[in-house]
Amino acid sequence: MSKITAGVTTSHVPAIGAALDLGKDKEPYWEAVFKGYEFSKKWIANEKPDVVFLVYNDHASAFSQEIIPTFAIGCAEEYAPADEGFGPRPVPVVKGHPEMASHIAQSVIQDDFDLTIVNKMDVDHGLTVPLSLMFGQPDQWPCKVIPLAVNVVQYPPPSGRRCYMLGKAIRKAIESYDDDLNVQVWGTGGMSHQLQGPRAGLINQEFDNDFLDRIVNDPDELSKMPHLDYVKKAGSEGIELVMWLIMRGALNDDVEQIHRFYHVPASNTAVGHLILNNR
C-alpha cells in the first residue's frame, strides 16, 4: 500500500523561477528567498518520494476562459512546461503517474468529489516553481508528479472547507493504492499578495503567520474561514491559500512540523513554506 509520508507547502511566485532560470539566485535579494529552502533540498534528497501529489492553480495557461474546471486532476504520462508569454521555463518535462492518478480520480469521484480528468495539459510556474525550490535544477525531476489544478482565477474558487474535505478523500485514495509508494502531498500558492489595482503590493504578515500556525495545529477550524476573509485580509490573490488546505486534509490530524520559513518579499508576494512529517 502507498503511504503519505509528508506534506509540503510553498508559495510559487513566477519571479522565483525567473531568478533561477536567469542565474540571479546568488543576488542578495533572491538569496534571502532560496536560503529558506536549503534545509528542504537536503531533507527531500533523503526522503526520496516516489510520487508528489502537487496541488496548484493554473494561471490562465492550460485553461483559458473556454473551460474553467474547479478541480482538475492530471492523468497524463507527462506535462510540458507552459509558455506563459516569454517562452517555456528551461526545466525538465514533468513525468506523471497515470495509473495512480486514475486510481485517485476513480476513488475520489466515487467519494462525491467530481474531479475533471485531464489527459493533456502544459504546466505553468504554479507547478514548476515549487519543484525548482525543492529539487533545484536537476536534468530530470527525481519523482513522478500528479498535478491537481484548482480554479482560483474566476470567482468563486472552492471553499476552504471543500478543499480540506477533498484532501481527506485524496488520502483515502492514495492509501488504497496497491503499490508500496512513498507519496508526498504539496499545497502551493500564497501567501498574502495582491497583483491588481491600487491595492497591489498588499502584504499581511500577521495574517500569514497566523495561517502558518493554524494550518499545522488547527486546520479544521481554519478550513471554515470564508473566501471574503482571504480577499480582504490577504489580498485578492491570497485566496490561493485554500489550496494548502487540500494538502493538510490529506495528512494526519496531528503532524510534526519539521521546517517553517517566511519571507517578504519575493516580487509582490510573501513567501511561506512548511514541511510537515506525517509518520
Binding site: A15, A60, D83, S192, Q196, G201, V231, S236, P265, S267
Partner: protein, 130 residues
C-alpha cells in the same frame, strides 16, 4: 436573480466573477494567444492590426495599446491573462503591479522591500503607502 456580490466594496480590488468574465472574454482570449511565439511576433510587429483580429471593444483595444492595466481590468481583463501582455513586453509582475498603484517603480520596489503595503484596517484592508 442577479449574482450575490458580497465582495463589491473591497477598496482597490476588482473580483473577477462571471460578469467580469463575460465582459472580458475576447480581451482575455487575445491574451492567451500571446502564449505562442509566432503570435507575439505578429503582435509586436503591428499591435493595432493584431488587436483588430479580435472581437474586442475599441475601449479594450485602446487600454491594451496604452498598457493601462487598471483600465483593462475594469473592462473584464484578469491579471493572470493580462500577464501574457507584460511578459510579451519582457516586463515583470512587479513592474506591472507598480503601474497599477500610481507609484513609481522605485517607490513600489522600496515599499515591497519594507514589507509591502500594510493592511491598516482588518475589515476593509485599506492601504497605507508606507
Amino acid at each position: 436573480m442577479s449574482l450575490d456580490k458580497p465582495y463589491d466594496n473591497i477598496p482597490g480590488t476588482v473580483i473577477f466573477d462571471a460578469d467580469m468574465s463575460r465582459k472580458g472574454f475576447h480581451l482575455n482570449q487575445f491574451c492567451m494567444s500571446l502564449m505562442k511565439a509566432d503570435n507575439r511576433a505578429r503582435f509586436k510587429a503591428d499591435e493595432k492590426a493584431y488587436l483588430n483580429e479580435w472581437k474586442m471593444t475599441d475601449e479594450q483595444k485602446q487600454a491594451v495599446l496604452d498598457r493601462d492595466y487598471n483600465r483593462m481590468m475594469a473592462l473584464g481583463g484578469n491579471i493572470y491573462f493580462l500577464a501574457k501582455i507584460f511578459s510579451t513586453d519582457g516586463l515583470s509582475f512587479q513592474y506591472a503591479a507598480a503601474t497599477m498603484t500610481g507609484m513609481s517603480q522605485e517607490e513600489y520596489r522600496d515599499m515591497m522591500l519594507a514589507g509591502g503595503r500594510k493592511p491598516d484596517n482588518e475589515s476593509t484592508g485599506d492601504q497605507t503607502d508606507e
